[in-house]
Symmetry: C2
Subunit: 428 residues, 2 copies
């Protein structure tokens, strides 16, 4: 438990650095770091972390090592080759508990540019909102990790335990960035990831699978349409079969503590579709990209088999698809969900820090989205705290994050680090 | 009526040139003359026609002139800029009836290459089949027009009336190539177009409209899917509304002489679809390209208004679409169908030629596809004879044409030209 005067000093120090923190967050947003394009931002992060005196390591996503691990997302052409960056703080005396502070730099595509009020990679500020693709998810959190440590240093302190500040990629597509830090051997007593959780702590989250269904068929002149199978229509019939599976999976929420009160815990998203070449030819091909979630405790492999069986069974009874069965490819996330067991010291410490920063108790939330925290929960088996600022429209246009919220969250993180790791006088 | 010895001479002359005709057809197939890529083949055709002593004209598709005409297809980015090529035969004495021999060089996209037994633009011969994209639709007919005239020349004859040998583009997308020849002022007493009609004469055919529906919506993180409208799903709901219109239009076949016995005269084709950027984002946009047919006598404008009203009415009652109504663009064919009135001299002459070539009477057919013949029927108001060889899988992979059929069709055309135009001694 922090003493009140240190608490106030830390909060004030966060405030003192906040203008610089926002400017740095804007720097991060200016990098259009969509999947595969995170090289430049990771080099920028590397230099920034090193300028803070952190010991640096940088390493590749090793495909062979990853593919031997059951939690790895499936590789595809689009997989990033950008490196993972880790800044290491080692205290003079290892008195406290060690910590991983993690954030990802990859962002989802901006979509049609004309739907944005401001260009997506131009971090415009309006009132309390900082706009921009990836600002909320999660460059604000990425900056908060660093500026929480800065706040301690500003008052002559540093963590009294090892802290790994990890900057990863592939969080939006496979989760292989976070998994690679685990496979590299980094371990700590807890992990904190400031994803935009609206100032709440993720109590449980779903696993996620990505897959693509491709339908091929015989195109033909539209004048003899009956003879030609329309691959687009056929693909949409497969969508219907998968929607039925989604309904079934949602019904299985019964008896699941964190999910049975959610109205629709399992979401199947038809995220992308492409098919056909020509208005006047019956389309010969159609590809649909899906994302689906699974309850924690369900492993990705068994879920993938159920998807496979659903498609195969539907195709068997479909006049066209039975001749040309759809091709199913798992091409990204292949991950299990996790639950954060209540009652850990780490959660208690975060709750106290949150109370000191916000003046109200920490609430928890169940998230129906993938979280990198699963790596630390499932494979490191440590308390994995996913907790971060409020924002709007992540993955949409006009994504934005509340700067007031970011400031409070940064205070929480700084207070949590001081408590969890302890503090010692900062090195020169 | 041709005398029997001339008939036999003409048939034998077609046969004598047939090996060369097939080699020439193969030359045409080697040009990958998809929309916009017909420049090279039109230059090849220009040189070939000129080598036969035809007087040549070559002209552009004039957008302004076309757009003033109600039968023009709508321009879009993909519209071809390749020229129209016309070879003109003028007799010494204009004793017979003049004729337009027309064919198009544009072909539809080949689709996935791995679905072809042979590469699409490699004109492989197997038994009676000549394979290749566009071989059947309609480069075999294109060559037949030229080799029918060659057959006359080989026996020292030429048509005794003006013949325009027209090579057009945009037949597969707007019909603007054929319309441009009309707007350029070419007129004749009849027109013959050897489209692959399975050795039958088109008695009536539908009009065709192309249009694109674009849906925009608010993308969002899949974890809050309820808040985000899925543009792909929304677009497919519009497909459903248009399918209902298709059913209604098919029901209106009652009382239409050439169509009421067709099981499904009106076809709506979902030809192409594209939407979304990312499996884990609810898609913000989706575009669908449609092709629909209309009965002859229905003008394109009134059909387009019905499509517009159907989409608008559906969108009004749809929770998402009512906020962001779909954008409808007519982006290609905007054409009325036609009927070939029975009893014309031209049809009688073609029937006799067919009987001489095939030994059996000419049958007619109703086609549910666009035909350039509509330009000559609707705007020149002349007998427009669409009649050509047998083939398989036009607009599909492994498109192929029967060489035996092409030979008989070429005999018919040569006999028809000799009868319709009369003959005179060939110029040097």
């Amino acid at each position: 438990m922090l003493d009140p005067s240190l608490t106030e000093k830390i909060k004030a120090s966060v405030d003192a650095g906040f203008a610089e923190q926002i400017a740095y967050t804007q720097e991060l947003v200016r990098f259009a770091s969509t999947r595969g394009s995170e090289h430049a931002i990771q080099d920028f992060v590397f230099k920034t972390f090193r300028s803070r005196g952190l010991t640096m390591e940088r390493f590749e996503l090793d495909r062979e090592t990853l593919e031997r691990h059951p939690g790895a997302g499936r590789f595809s052409e689009g997989h990033s080759t950008a490196p993972i960056v880790v800044g290491i703080h080692r205290p003079r005396a290892e008195v406290g508990r060690s910590l991983i502070l993690q954030a990802h730099v990859d962002v989802v595509p901006p979509g049609p540019l004309d739907m944005w009020t401001h260009p997506p990679f131009d971090p415009v500020i309006e009132g309390d909102w900082l706009f921009g693709r990836g600002g909320c998810d999660m460059k604000a959190g990425h900056a908060a990790n660093l500026y929480a440590l800065d706040a301690l240093r500003r008052i002559g302190l540093q963590p009294g335990a090892t802290v790994y500040v990890q900057s990863v990629v592939e969080e939006e597509s496979t989760g292989n960035g976070a998994l690679m830090t685990h496979l590299r051997g980094y371990r700590a007593d807890a992990a904190l990831i400031p994803e935009p959780e609206n100032e709440k702590l993720a109590r449980a989250n779903v696993g996620v699978l990505w897959f693509q269904v491709e339908v091929r068929g015989r195109p033909t002149h539209v004048s003899v349409m009956g003879a030609g199978a329309n691959a687009i229509d056929a693909a949409y019939r497969v969508v219907g079969a998968l929607r039925a599976l989604e309904t079934e999976w949602n019904a299985r929420k019964a008896g699941r503590p964190h999910f049975e009160s959610e109205p629709h815990p399992i979401n199947l998203n038809v995220g992308k579709i492409e098919g056909g070449d020509w208005a006047s030819s019956v389309p010969a091909w159609c590809r649909v990209d899906f994302r689906v979630s699974i309850y924690p405790g369900i492993d990705a492999l068994s879920a993938s088999r159920e998807i496979e069986q659903t498609i195969a069974a539907f195709a068997r009874d479909d006049a066209f698809l039975s001749n040309d069965p759809p091709r199913l490819t798992f091409n990204g996330f292949f991950s299990e969900g996790y639950e954060l067991s209540p009652g850990t010291d780490a959660e208690r410490a975060l709750g106290q820090a949150h109370l000191l920063a916000f003046g109200k108790p920490l609430e928890t939330v169940v998230t129906p989205a993938y979280l990198d925290a699963r790596v630390y929960a499932l494979f490191d088996k440590i308390p994995a705290l996913c907790y971060g600022p409020s924002g709007r429209d992540s993955h949409s246009y006009d994504e934005r994050v509340s700067m007031a919220s970011v400031k409070q969250i940064t205070r929480t993180i700084a207070l949590f680090v001081a408590d969890w790791c302890g503090v010692e006088a900062a090195s020169l």
